[in-house]
Symmetry: C2
Subunit: 329 residues, 2 copies
């Protein structure tokens, strides 16, 4: 059985995506499909389809059987970005105008809807092992992602979000889709339910670690490598792990100071970022977050190492998850 290097899987996926984009360029009405094409053209790391293909390739080398599902996951992920960006009033993504800015909110709603159904179209387009189970997993995951986004929106207006609340939110909003990608790969390769379920747990813990890493980089990353403005979450008062832990650990006077910044209606951005970072530093929030990330990543690694798969086959997936966690952007 052939083990594909990551770059080859990426090429195979990109070819599949190109075919889709060619189809979309001929689809009518143009007004519906242009924003779909624009959104898929914006790029991104394509982490989810890669995880699906890597997981599949642990058990099978007939990659063509897994490509439609990989495409479905990526199209679904981009659908969530279209709608989330409207809800979050985010005007820029990957240094480009978001779909609702480039086109209109109506276009972002409707083309997003079409993408959700296109994802099912790809899932249904190919014969695959365990198709019904893959569809159920995908559907359950999609519902959970909606639940996660709802929680994220509700947290905006709350200052009493606990660590447990937060972890549940990122589990739903981010981690389940990574878990779903890995499990779907295993199911499509027709491997046993036990390994499929272990890969799901692996993906869940990887996803939690990954999202916490994202929170950390937003406050403590390097501007040049991170690509986004450092401190964006602080400016927007996002209830990240960092802010929640700071509110939890601060004494009364420091808590008042921190909430003062959170609730201030007018402020100088740099001043606010520096003041909040200073509070984070005084409370060792960076180390606290790193420890939390490590704890999830350790669970993730332990699950992975115990998987009953030949050691030689594990390398690709181990490399990619290490890379995801050591990422600086």
């Amino acid at each position: 059985m052939k083990q594909y290097p990551v770059t080859e899987l990426q090429n195979l996926f990109n070819n599949e995506l190109s075919k889709l984009k060619t189809d979309l360029q001929h689809a009518a009405p143009r007004g519906l499909y242009l924003p779909v094409d624009y959104s898929l053209e914006m790029g991104g790391k394509r982490v989810r389809p890669l995880l699906l293909l890597l997981s599949f390739n642990l058990f099978s080398d007939k990659i063509e059987n897994a490509l439609p599902a990989a495409l479905a996951i990526e199209v679904f992920h981009n659908f969530t970005l279209l709608h989330d960006d409207i809800m979050d009033k985010a005007d820029v993504r990957r240094n480009q105008p978001t779909v609702h800015k480039q086109f209109s909110e109506n276009n972002a709603i409707l083309s997003g809807d079409a993408m959700a159904f296109l994802a099912y179209k790809y899932l249904l387009s190919a014969e695959m092992a365990n198709q019904a189970e893959v569809l159920q997993l995908f559907t359950q995951t999609a519902i959970e992602v909606c639940e996660g986004q709802q929680l994220d929106m509700e947290f905006e207006n709350r200052t009493d979000v606990t660590e447990t609340d937060y972890i549940e939110m990122i589990r739903l909003k981010t981690a389940v889709l990574l878990a779903c990608s890995l499990k779907a790969g295993a199911l499509i390769a027709n491997t046993g339910a036990k390994i499929a379920s272990e890969l799901y747990d692996f993906g869940m813990n990887l996803g939690l670690a990954f999202q916490l890493q994202d929170d950390l980089l937003d406050s403590f990353g390097e501007q040049e490598t991170f690509g986004k403005m450092i401190g964006g979450d602080i400016v927007a008062n996002k209830k990240t792990f960092l802010l929640i832990k700071a509110l939890e650990h601060a004494d009364d006077s420091l808590k008042t100071e921190l909430l003062g910044w959170v609730q201030k209606p007018m402020f100088n951005q740099t001043e606010k970022i520096n003041a909040v970072l200073d509070i984070y530093n005084r409370l060792n929030i960076k180390e606290l977050t790193e420890n939390k990330i490590d704890s999830y990543f350790n669970v993730c690694s332990a699950i992975f190492e115990k998987l009953e798969i030949e050691t030689s086959k594990k390398e690709c997936l181990r490399n990619i998850s290490n890379k995801m966690m050591n990422r600086i952007s």
Copy 2:
């Protein structure tokens, strides 16, 4: 094989819907599921699930096998209403505030998304004959409904919409879902592909006639029985069959008069409605539209009468389609 009376099928469906609503009342986060419940609580004629069940009952009396799909179609239809009402800035539906007015636009977007996935959840929840085919039909239909809504939005800013353009728009936006409901019922009853496809064509023609009837009632219905304001389409400059035919048949002077009303930025509503109705009357638009409705309904009836099904079994579905066409509201 038992032939269910319409009221019994409606009761069975309402029971299934009640079970779903009970589930939703216990689902978290509440903020996501309250708008779903609200939207399903608003009522409506439940035409699509009824058509699905009637079609199913032509071939089978194990109604429980078709109920999940009937629920899926209704939940899907309500999902489209949530998103369409945002896009169309419609504040009232069935005399109640629309979801985005009652809650918020973000809630209507996200709860709508959840409903699209819930529809798949119900489709996947039961073992049914031809499940893969039903899923493909449903997915293709959902994509077409998005295409129809896109065309409808694009028509708002055009005055050159032809009859052909318009029929294609209502085919996609309205008719394919009725067609899908009827075909899905047949597929789930595991009847032959030929009859399933004939029922699809029957539903398509019924859907076209039904939408044209809706256009007609909006201008020529009775206020009390129609339930909505007569002339709403005229006020909103909707590119209905009536307006398109009027623009097509008017001589230069009448066309200028009609376009004058369409393009007038400020006007008295009653004055505009009466003026446009007067133009419609001068051009015999009512009769023209009635003839078009009859032509689709005749095709629909011809397909139906030719269906290779015992005559006695056909009565229910014939009654309901007659009722749909003779409706005054």
